[in-house]
Symmetry: C2
């Protein structure tokens, strides 16, 4: 349009107005391309952005040449949402269209958004609300389809476990990643809303929370001796015990199995706290619900009892579910469509699956099967413990009121044949300014199993660790 | 007041109205007591809650008897904010007032909030805006002051490091805990606001990000052999190498030094991602700025270059500072009053402290001193790396654009004498759908040092790990 001194026509003004508005909706996230989510994730599917010039980038989900090699259609996905952006490339813009269409190819393009023509009658596919007509191809990260490790059609989750470094490019693993992200942020939001402080408990520990013994050892002894070509890698003292004085921490150290005991020291001073961090079990479990490295959320509440812990646990899990439905509806719908499989039949699932079909809380367990720190009930036979069981997954949460009475907990430690010395610091919390308190642990990956309906816990953590495997 | 059929007087109605309003302001956080923060943390200092009946709980900061043992005044703190609630107990309510006044005592009381009388003329102390007149003492967790490990007056931070389990009850460590919590949630909020996905990278790894070698080893070999009374704790193969086939992961495994290489696999599929997790260095460093276990924030951005990484880093650090001033002003003021000490004088601090007195970014380092994955600049001599240096702390952030060109990065690995095989998965990201991308790592504890002015990094993490020490 030629320049003129006259004012812009009403049509032009409207268009400019719309474009100003949309400018603020397009998120670049510190890059020179817009997130595809900020186009196709709009309530109007992006139609309102027609006419806008943008740079988009992503990986080709599916691509095809059409019209005897004169056009290419690409479904471009950048992981910002499950939906892809349809990109139309003319051979006049990119002469070798074949380079663009292979699944997995990375493409960055400049173009103009437009409303595509309606699909031919009789074609049942949902029409795109917007597509990008490419003016310039800025970047092609090629893929040789003959060598690309990920098959185009329906690779199994088992197969993808052998290709951890590429599996985030698949629809299912990407949806799980977004749901996992949402659950993590929802967790922080819930506890922050309720004035809990996030306390990062140690990963390397010299305490043993459960007395279970199935712990990974952390050491520099082997490597250092190996580098010095020292044949006696581990030195044995005269009393037959291993000499840890030369180890990094000058004593035997482990990977934590729980941050609970440590976070209690913060609860007994700051009242409401929680941990959210990795925990470890060196168990040779090959089930679909166990990992050697997993994440746990562990709130601890001072001035509170078992009932308060249950109230908190219920409010927390409901908050997570509500959050997912509000913020991840597209991913949740995808999981519901594609990923539910027949359930397995372990015994503890009976209550939730057959009887209630929803989460249940079991509480007041016999003291003999529970840990020393759980509060002894007045019957002297049971402890104030509770577990939350959910359909398909089984135990999602385990919690308890903690024994705050010095004489009682001391007696319990001795009764269980445990030494007092390593727990003196823990006993100090009962000696000095003791307070009733409670808490629980939620297995974060189990929550993701519950939320997604995925069968195997190895598919809901980015880099699963289990016996014999720690890829990458 | 006698019951009557008449309507309530205006005064009563107002009072009831006020009480209904305040009910919603009082946060119990899943317990039967209110958080002290929701009383004294109000803009009016709690004065508007006069007349309200509440249960409060906390630990006594200071307590004193007065009027020949007829009254006790307690400064009660529950960690929900730096300020304490003044609690007044009459001997008629709790005959043995001495039990209440020792520092560290846990007290739960029911009472009525009231505006205290003005202080006697000439006393310069800032008057309390509200105090709690106790009607019933619900719980006393006693402290024998002769045995309490924490001295009442000004224990040093060094002293407190030997009492990790009780140090969260001190003003300084509690303020640091709240600031740390705020920075952690601000971190998640910043990246979520910008559509980054939180990806939890592995703690146990079989990759070595830096090639540095200063890694902790994770093993079950020693413990299992020790339990079997097996004298040959570690088996050596005929080729002289250690036999890891019986170790948990069937190969040598380590604690991660960085999640970067792994999180790149998610960036090259989901575009904008970040990790926030523990990382480890088995270095025998005894400085005030190094820990064996520390937390790192590592964003990774696809379709972005070094300049984008700098923009992101600057926006992130500014966001953190703004967040603290908005949400933690009382704690920040406390740190400013009490905790600044003379700075030390290491060389790399010169630029920030002497020249600019504010953060600076240094970029484009010679390739010889930087890691293989940093993008080679067109001069073939420097790489697209950047560091953010801040006053007192030195390096707060280190980042780079990553080398996305397959041939170039392959050449760099060989040039540095590293084996290709362990990096084949990393090379795959360049073989299949490669994309320009960048990222950085922020040392979370260093950010807390910068924010608080604390000297020693061991005081800004709840459970510090360093050579010879891993308490609890």
């Amino acid at each position: 349009m030629a320049e003129t001194d006259e004012g812009a026509s009403p049509t032009e003004t409207d268009q400019l107005g719309t474009m100003d508005l949309t400018e603020t909706c397009l998120n670049h996230a510190f890059s020179d391309r817009v997130l595809i989510r900020s186009i196709v994730g709009r309530p109007d599917g992006g139609a309102g952005l027609a006419g806008k010039r943008v740079r988009a980038g992503g990986w080709v989900k599916t691509g095809r040449e059409q019209g005897k090699g004169t056009l290419a259609f690409l479904e471009l996905n950048d992981g910002s949402c499950p939906a892809s952006l349809q990109v139309v490339v003319d051979a006049g813009v990119a002469p070798v269209l074949k380079k663009l269409v292979a699944t997995g190819t990375c493409v960055v393009v400049d173009g103009i958004l437009k409303v595509p023509p309606p699909p031919p009658q009789g074609q049942g596919t949902r029409p795109q609300r917007i597509e990008l007509g490419v003016e310039k191809v800025v970047h092609i990260g090629e893929v040789n389809p003959a060598k690309y490790p990920i098959p185009k059609r329906n690779p199994t989750l088992e197969f993808l476990r052998d290709h951890l470094h590429l599996r985030s490019r698949t629809n299912t693993i990407a949806a799980i990643a977004r749901i996992r992200n949402a659950l993590a942020f929802a967790t922080h939001s819930f506890f922050q809303d309720h004035h809990f402080l996030y306390v990062q408990t140690p990963i390397i520990t010299t305490s043993d929370c459960e007395g279970a013994g199935e712990m990974f050892q952390v050491t520099t002894l082997i490597n250092e001796a190996d580098h010095k070509l020292d044949k006696e890698l581990i030195k044995i003292k005269k009393d037959g015990k291993i000499d840890y004085t030369q180890d990094f921490f000058a004593r035997q150290a482990f990977l934590t199995v729980s941050g609970q005991l440590q976070v209690e020291t913060y609860a007994c001073g700051l009242s409401n706290v929680y941990t959210f961090g990795p925990t470890f079990r060196a168990e040779h479990s090959h089930t679909s619900r166990h990992l050697a490295e997993f994440w746990m959320v562990e709130p601890e509440i001072a001035f509170a009892d078992l009932k308060d812990a249950m109230t908190c646990a219920e409010a927390y899990v409901k908050y997570l579910c509500k959050w997912l439905l509000e913020k991840c509806l597209d991913d949740m719908e995808f999981m519901d469509d594609g990923c539910r499989h027949p359930i397995s039949s372990e015994h503890e699932r009976y209550l939730t699956e057959v009887k209630f079909q929803k989460p249940v809380i079991v509480y007041n367990y016999p003291k003999g099967i529970k840990a020393f720190y759980m509060r002894l009930n007045d019957d002297l036979e049971t402890v104030a413990a509770m577990d939350v069981l959910v359909p398909k997954v089984g135990e999602l949460i385990g919690g308890s009121q903690r024994e705050e009475r010095y004489e009682v907990i001391r007696e319990r430690i001795l009764e269980m044949g445990m030494p007092l010395e390593p727990y003196e610091w823990y006993l100090d919390l009962r000696r000095y300014g003791t307070v009733k308190h409670c808490g629980f642990g939620l297995g974060f990956e189990r929550m993701i199993l519950f939320a997604t309906g995925i069968d195997n816990i190895r598919d809901v953590i980015p880099f699963p660790r289990y016996p014999g495997r720690a890829d990458l």
